[in-house]
């Protein structure tokens, strides 16, 4: 699955990888807010942000082209919407939508690709996100690949029995077969969840997840956080004050 690429990327050892997750999340939010509120001088600001993100990706020793292509996953949806805006006589908005959403996705990708996902969620939790929600997200991510693989197996099994046929008369039967498959997947997931819970309780789980790593917020992290959060703001002020 292509998400595994992200797992590989996030396990690098560059300076950007080694920063505390919080020192990356806060500047990310600052950058997203600066992008979302940009009106005048959006093209110049976008170019600047794009260059900065490319530099960050290079500094993290991530492959540039695959990363840019991955962020382009947002584009099909955006393109459809931009087309609607264009037809409705608002080409300016179409361009700004495309620029903002692509750059925002690239910024998020840069952070997610330089932080192991468990550490990222731990950082989000330390920034006062609801603990329960973050823990559910931790489990969701862990079992995402397991359950997805199970679904893929089921799909393969179904198509090997001829479920890929496209005849119209069999539509109803195939609909019910798909419903049955989903119900089986549900039951298996539910059973697996109960097994996981029992196994965890037997190992002393009391409702709190104890990460095996400790987040340390050092001086370098603080310096990076301050500089990187102020940079988009400074860039926008500079661009908008320019004659």
């Amino acid at each position: 699955m292509h998400q595994i690429v992200l797992e590989q990327w996030s396990r690098g050892s560059s300076g950007l990888h080694r920063l505390d997750p919080r020192a990356k999340i806060v500047p990310l939010l600052a950058l997203l807010a600066a992008l979302a509120t940009a009106h005048r001088s959006l093209p110049e600001f976008s170019a600047l942000v794009f260059a900065a993100l490319c530099l960050a990706l290079a500094a993290a020793r991530l492959p540039l082209i695959p990363a840019l292509a991955r962020a382009a996953l947002v584009l099909p949806f955006v393109a459809a919407f931009a087309a609607v805006c264009w037809i409705s006589g608002d080409p300016e908005r179409a361009v700004s939508l495309t620029l903002k959403s692509y750059l925002s996705a690239l910024a998020v990708l840069t952070v997610v690709a330089t932080t192991p996902f468990a550490a990222l969620l731990a950082g989000i939790e330390r920034l006062r996100a609801p603990v329960f929600l973050v823990n559910v997200a931790q489990f969701l991510y862990r079992y995402l690949f397991v359950i997805s693989e199970e679904a893929q197996h089921m799909r393969k099994a179904a198509s090997s029995r001829g479920a890929a046929g496209r005849s119209w008369e069999l539509g109803g039967a195939r609909f019910h077969a798909a419903a049955g498959a989903l119900a089986v997947l549900f039951a298996r997931s539910y059973g697996r969840a109960q097994d996981v819970h029992r196994a965890m309780v037997s190992r002393g789980f009391n409702g709190h997840l104890q990460p095996l790593f400790d987040l340390k917020f050092g001086k370098a992290d603080a310096a990076f956080l301050t500089l990187a959060s102020l940079a988009p703001l400074a860039a926008r002020i500079a661009l908008e004050r320019l004659p």
């Binding site: 559910v136 489990f139 119900a183």
Partner: protein, 306 residues
Amino acid sequence: MNSIVHIPDGFLSTPVWASLDAAAVPAIGYMARRAQRDFDGAKIPMLGVMGAFVFAAQMINFPVGVGTTAHLLGGALLACTLGPAAAVVTMASILAIQALVFQDGGILALGPNMINMAFAGVLAGYLPYMLWGGGRWRRAAIFAGGALSAMVSAALALSELLLSGVRMTLSVLLTALALFLVAALMEGAITVAVIGALERIQPNFIRRPQQGRPFAAGAVALGALLLATVGVLVASAAPDGIQRLGIQTGIAARAQSLISTPFAGYQAAFLQTAWERKVVGGLAGLVLVTCACLIFSRVAARKRSA
């Protein structure tokens, strides 16, 4: 169909995303506390794994029509099996993972997306089940829940985009609403079919509707519903929208003559009646859609039991 309502960053205007982010924090926080109470805090693995199930369910395609497929969105199904609060939390964490890992929906737009799909979507999907899930209208209620859940999410997303100043011609807007309606009906049909199959496997997967305090949750869900329709109305009735509507429907000429008359009262009267007409039209549309859902599900249920 799923990604139609995942709003990326950069689409919403600052007041819209900021206020919805601010609204999402207490809404999701409250639901997380409730789910934690219901689930004793120790059932985190259950919600996480069932979230992974909803994710994986996208891979199982349901044939609908010629050559097109749809997949489960899952809000109503989770509400009927895990309970509404747990379903809200599960959907919210799905949205967070989608935004972070899959570039599906934005980070600043996470609040709006959570309000649309996790909060309002799940509660709207649970409302019919809570009200009629126990009686002989059960299948109809499940169908209406699935359809309502998808429709409310989509309508909210659309109204947020319109509020952000995105201009759409009336025909584009109507096409979008029609597409959403079709997707909503599919979600209803899929939810009914999956819950039926689940009950054949093991009946106690499905929660009986809670009899304790139906009023509070019902009020919240009804509020969500009203918000959805009123949001679309307000958004499309913004000055810009009225003008476009006027041009589209050909009343522009008449409106122009009205507005240019020296009597200011005429203008106000025109706007007022347009507004009223729009509200009445919107509500009538909602009633029609609801009736259509109910009738369709009734027929579907009868066909299946026959």
